[in-house]
């Protein structure tokens, strides 16, 4: 099915599972194994509990039989103790059964929860590790579906998992018992497993395919859902609702179709399992009965056989359900393990080189070449030295490579060739935590997280592990960028909830908060990428005033479309097609006749008109 509305450039939806199915299955199994390994002891205890429970269950009927067969005659004969013991024994067996079940449920519940939290942590940490290049093509909706609905499938398996284990134990033990009782009849009974094996294989293949489809479609549903809700303003303003509804209907239909197919498969599978079991029971009965008639089998053995036979096939239903949950979870694990398998293209170094303390902030681009995903070269070869403490403004038309330079310095990407160095150390050799303390980038989007204004500013706190910024530090940072005034005017001041994506604040206010965040981070190198676009002139002036003091002693790289911001720089670089075409102090360049001088005069004209 083609996703025409998502454009031909839409990545192949099965991109992460183009590899051979077997390899995928092995990968999911490996993941499952690594998740279950820490639970091994728990599983052993659970098996012991299951066996104990089985014993308690077996004791019940025996005690009833004893009460009737022996207790009553004994009581009639004047010995009431036997009957009393039998009855008390039954009550104890019943109570132990209940207690064991309770213990078992609690244990298996805890193990399931532990496995899930383990996996949640792994996936979330992996998301944080993966590079931007990955996130740009993967979309948040799919990440969310991995961490929500895919995990739900695993939870179902875990809920049922130990029951499945129990079914297998039960089948093995009863099978052995049957063979011990009578090997020939036992073989007849076990012969049913040949068609069952084939049946299970058929089911595994078919259901795997179907469940893969359900996973894929539900992820699409989630992507569509998340995008609609995030862009609800545009959706409503542009009357996108009907078109969205029809897209959603199609995705929802495809998901429901896949689910329905899975339901049909289970219906066919479980009922066919029953058919095999019935045929097997009937044939065993017939042959066994005939042999009793011939005198080659005793009636007692046949009776025992028949009693066991039914219990032999009963767990098959559970096993079928287990096979089903497994198939569903396997499809989910395939996707999750694929995500976990991704290696960040921008990874932490194996042997990190420490930055000098304190970081001076000298930045060098040494013969840097860069292109996005093997496309057109954005930077053919960039050589640039920014001495520590210098403020550099990047100027250039859209596509000149300004943002790319900024992203390379913040190590959102790594150069294809050459190196970016901070104080002489290749960024690729710096531990991520060190790098982030030294270099901070403020982007155009000024993303705010739900929580208070203070929380959002404190996010910048460069302080190490866990420790968060004090209120006075937060306020000081806000004051420095001129955000204090509007924040204190909010209903709860710094504790005001900014709501989803900062909806409570205006775009300009969000940018001020982002700025305060960066100030609090107190990095040696500050990168500002179109960070002041939404500010009005007074706010921008406040920010500029702040910058002149803040940037003192700091290295800064500023991309601004406003020349007013550019003019506070020590040095201006004009970029064109990834190369520096003009370089010098702004006043010097203005006085010249180069592209910057032209730009500046146009700008003056717009301001003064």
């Amino acid at each position: 099915m083609t996703e025409d509305w998502r454009g031909v450039a839409a990545e192949d939806l099965d991109a992460i599972d183009t590899a051979i199915g077997l390899r995928l299955a092995a990968r999911s199994r490996r993941l499952l194994g690594s998740l279950l390994r820490p639970q091994l002891r728990g599983v052993c205890v659970a098996i012991v509990l299951l066996i104990a429970d089985q014993l308690a269950l077996l004791a019940g009927p025996l005690l009833i039989a004893a009460a009737i067969d022996r207790g009553i005659p004994a009581t009639l004969a004047g010995h009431p103790a036997t009957l009393a013991w039998c009855i008390a024994g039954y009550a104890v067996a019943g109570a132990s059964d209940a207690l064991i079940v309770r213990a078992f449920l609690r244990l298996s519940g805890r193990m399931g929860a532990d496995v899930l939290i383990d996996l949640r942590e792994r996936v979330f940490a992996q998301i944080q590790r993966l590079s931007l290049a990955f996130h740009e093509r993967y979309t948040s909706g799919r990440v969310i579906s991995r961490l929500t609905s895919d995990l739900d499938s695993l939870q179902e398996l875990l809920d049922e998992g130990l029951d499945g284990l129990f079914s297998i134990l039960s089948i093995i033990s009863i099978g052995t018992m049957l063979m011990v009782l009578d090997i020939r009849l036992g073989l007849v009974a076990l012969a049913g497993f040949i068609p069952l094996g084939l049946l299970t294989r058929w089911y595994r293949r078919r259901s795997q395919h179907t469940y893969r489809r359900t996973r894929r479609w539900i992820a699409q549903v989630i992507v569509q859902f998340v995008e609609t809700m995030n862009g609800i303003r545009a959706v409503q303003a542009f009357r996108r609702e009907p078109r969205n509804a029809s897209i959603m209907a199609r995705l929802n239909d495809s998901f429901a179709d896949a689910e329905t197919e899975a339901n049909w498969l289970i219906a066919r599978f479980t009922s066919t399992v029953r058919v095999v079991a019935s045929v097997s029971i009937a044939v065993t009965l017939l042959l066994g009965g005939l042999r009793v008639l011939e005198g080659t089998l005793t009636l007692g053995v046949l009776t025992a056989f028949v009693l066991y036979l039914r219990r032999f096939y009963d767990p098959l239903d559970e096993l079928a359900m287990f096979a089903n949950s497994y198939a569903s979870a396997a499809a989910a694990l395939e996707k999750i393990s694929g995500l976990l398998e991704e290696r960040p293209t921008v990874g932490d170094p194996v042997a990190p080189v420490p930055l000098p303390v304190p970081v001076r902030g000298e930045v060098v681009f040494d013969q840097v070449r860069f292109s996005y995903g093997g496309g057109r070269e954005v930077l053919p070869q960039l050589d640039l030295v920014i001495p520590a403490g210098q403020t550099v403004a990047l100027v250039g038309a859209t596509g000149a490579g300004k943002s790319t330079v900024a992203k390379l310095l913040a190590r959102f990407y790594d150069p294809v060739a050459g190196a970016v160095r901070l104080d002489g150390v290749d960024l690729r050799s710096v531990a991520d935590a060190d790098l982030r303390r030294a270099v901070v980038m403020v982007t155009q989007e000024s993303f705010l997280f739900s929580g208070s204004v203070a929380d959002n500013i404190a996010l910048g706190c460069g302080c190490s592990s866990g420790q968060s910024a004090s209120r006075s530090e937060v306020v000081a940072a806000a004051r420095a960028v001129g955000a204090d005034e509007f924040i204190t005017a909010l209903p709860d001041g710094y504790d005001t909830d900014v709501r989803k994506r900062g909806a409570r604040l205006s775009a300009g206010q969000r940018q001020l908060v982002s700025f305060a965040r960066a100030l609090l981070a107190d990095p040696a190198v500050l990168v500002l990428d179109e960070a002041t676009s939404s500010l009005d002139i007074p706010s921008e002036q406040a920010v500029q005033a702040a910058l002149t003091t803040v940037l003192a002693g700091r290295t800064a790289l500023i991309i601004a479309h406003r020349l007013s911001t550019v003019l506070i720089a020590d040095r201006v670089l004009v970029l064109a097609d990834g190369a520096v075409v003009e370089d010098g102090p702004p006043t010097h360049l203005i006085a010249g006749t180069g592209p910057f001088a032209t730009l500046h005069s146009t700008y003056r004209a717009t301001l003064l008109a």
Binding site: W5, R6, G7, A9, A10, P61, T75, Y90, G94, A95, A98, V101, R106, G109, A113, D114, R120, E121, A125, R129, S140, V143, I144, T148, S149, F225, V226, N230, G231, A234, A237, F238, E259, N263, I266, A267, S278, I281, A282, L290, L299, G396, T398, F412, A433, V440, T443, Q444, F447, F486, P491, S506, A507, G508, E530, S534, Q544, R562, T606, A609
Partner: protein, 587 residues
């Protein structure tokens, strides 16, 4: 635990509209389940007969016949199992599908204010995991709950008829059982509710962590974000364990009470036999019946837990569905006169955000003549964006009114209003779809020519053509692979493609760089010709596109005039716009 917990049945009744179209099949499935259970019970009885009869009496023909009987009964059971599942295969997914479509439809109608308030993960978890829970309940646990309770009741009646004295015991036992079950079920339901809310919170956290990945990365905040996430996941784990503990206790009660009853039956029965007041056959029959009821009884623990989950899921679902869209179509929409003149008039417009203490807008009066462009200027956070949202009714005024060609916008059909008024947001909101799809948002069937014309107007044609697949290039989520200027130009193209009568543009040039600003300005000038426009502006260059400028301050329009007039007359305006960075320029 929760004080206002509604009875499960009252909540689950809300599923009826979705279940009604398929209720026949659900009923059929229930009947098949019951019949399968009976057939399953019949097989051991038949086997017993086979062993006691033909085998004991060396009756070869009887053996064959009864063996075939066992086979036949097994086949019937298998057939019924198939029927039970096959009957609900489609209906259960249909219920889920319908409920999801309904939720999605409703959410698209709910106003922006609702979406700002509700964490997106909470909406998503309702649309996905809650509906999965409900589907399972409809297809499985709901049916078995009815079937098993029926079986237990029928079994008890049979028991009372066969052995009135012994039969009273389970009836007495049933009372504490029902009370305890209800109590545990409620506790389970409230824990399930908490767990599902926490699942939603986790989803929100995940969404923020991926959408805000740039910020997290640039501050090296990843490890800390993971810790916060983990702390939240631990809370969920804690709730899950509470659920498990409640379920385990419930299950233990459901096992132990019948077992103790059976022990009591055994005691009373045996002593009655000893005393000669009861036959041994009656005791055996009574005990056998109770043993047969064991599975239906045992499974109640699990079924009640599923019911609790389904109840919590339904409650959560209905919470959203019961929110009445504050902004909707009027009962009798008025039609706009064609062709539209495009007169926009704001009369004493007031606006207060829900729950806010004070009004953002207090009596805004503004007249925009047909074809005129008015720039709206004001300090950061003074309510300009709020004002622009009121015109296409993304939110409704809380006082006063907005007139479009003399008609209150609240009297227009939303579709008509939003066709007439196009909005360009400051934050361009792009979707992970092709460029064409993003530009033609309002006109899904727009031709390539129309899309290109709109792109040309926004001066976006050139960079779009340079993209790898041109118009078909898929823009990454939120369009973050594009520069701010590129995104804003796409948003502009989107606003002009439907040829609206009124354009509302929120700071359309904020992210354009000096190189393109002049170009887009020129383009905008042509766009604005002949269209009524309200343009929010921060920059002198944008203001110059306007015929008149309105200054918004303190929730009112404090001055209206041309740029030049206001510069001279209004100090506040001068502060905002002419504070031309002379100081910096001079530096």
């Amino acid at each position: 635990m929760t004080p206002h917990q509604k009875p499960s049945l009252a909540v689950l009744r809300r599923l009826w509209p979705y279940v009604r179209p398929v209720h026949g099949r659900l009923l059929g499935s229930g009947v098949a389940a019951l019949a399968a259970m009976l057939a399953g019970l019949g097989i051991p009885v038949l086997i017993q007969h086979l062993v006691d009869g033909p085998v004991a009496h060396r009756d070869r023909a009887g053996l064959v016949v009864l063996s075939l009987g066992v086979l036949a009964l097994g086949m019937v059971e298998a057939g019924l199992i198939y029927l039970r599942r096959a009957l609900v295969a489609r209906p259960s997914t249909d219920v889920e599908k319908r409920m999801r479509a309904q939720l999605y439809h409703h959410l698209q109608r709910l106003p922006v204010a609702f979406h700002d308030r509700w964490p997106s993960g909470q909406l998503l978890s309702r649309a996905v995991s809650d509906l999965t829970t409900i589907r399972r309940f409809v297809a499985f646990s709901g049916i078995f709950l009815v079937v098993n309770v029926t079986t237990v009741l029928v079994g008890l009646v049979v028991l009372v008829v066969i052995a009135p004295t012994l039969g009273m015991l389970p009836v007495i036992m049933a009372m504490p059982l029902v009370v305890l079950c209800r109590r545990y079920e409620r506790r389970y339901e409230s824990a399930a509710r908490r767990a599902q809310d926490q699942v939603g919170d986790l989803a929100t956290r995940v969404e923020e962590a991926t959408l805000g990945i740039r910020v997290l990365k640039s501050f090296g905040h990843g490890p800390r974000a993971t810790r916060t996430f983990l702390a939240q996941a631990r809370e969920l784990r804690h709730t899950e364990l509470t659920k498990v503990a409640v379920l385990a206790a419930l299950w233990a009660v459901i096992i132990v009470l019948p077992e103790l009853t059976l022990a009591a039956m055994l005691a009373i029965g045996c002593y009655a036999v000893v005393a000669g007041s009861m036959s041994l056959g009656t005791v055996v029959a009574a005990i056998t019946i109770l043993t047969y009821l064991r599975w239906p009884l045992d499974s109640l623990g699990w079924l009640l837990a599923e019911t609790g989950k389904a109840t919590a899921a339904t409650t959560r679902y209905c919470e959203v569905l019961d929110t009445i869209p504050a902004v909707g179509d009027p009962p009798q929409p008025q039609a706009l006169a064609r062709p539209m003149r495009g007169a926009l008039r704001l009369e004493a417009v007031r606006f207060r955000y829900p729950g806010a203490a004070s009004e953002v807008l207090r009596s805004v009066d503004l007249d925009v003549q047909p074809g005129e462009t008015v720039a709206l200027v004001g300090a950061t956070g003074c309510g300009k964006t709020t004002l622009t949202a009121l015109i296409p009714r993304l939110a409704d005024v809380t006082g006063g009114r907005i007139l479009l060609d003399g008609v209150d916008v609240r009297d227009l059909a939303l579709a008509d209003l939003r066709t007439a008024v196009a909005t360009g947001f400051e934050d361009p909101v792009l979707f992970s779809a092709s460029v064409r799809e993003n530009v033609a948002l309002a006109v899904p069937d727009a031709s390539d020519d129309e899309v290109r014309r709109a792109l040309a107007v926004a001066h976006a044609e050139q960079f779009v053509d340079a993209l790898p697949w041109g118009l078909d290039t898929r823009i990454g989520e939120q369009g973050l692979t594009l520069s701010g200027g590129q995104r804003q130009r796409l948003a502009l193209a989107r606003a002009v493609i439907g040829k609206p009568a009124v354009l509302v543009l929120d700071d359309p040039l904020s992210a354009l760089d000096v190189h393109t600003e002049a170009e887009v300005e020129a383009a905008l000038r042509t766009v604005l010709r002949g269209v009524t426009a309200l343009v929010v502006a921060h920059r002198p260059s944008t203001v110059q596109l306007a015929d008149r400028v309105a200054l918004l301050a303190g929730g009112r329009i404090t001055a209206v005039g041309t740029h030049a007039e206001l510069l001279v007359q209004v100090p506040e305006y001068r502060r905002l716009l002419s504070a031309v960075d002379d100081a910096v320029v001079a530096r």
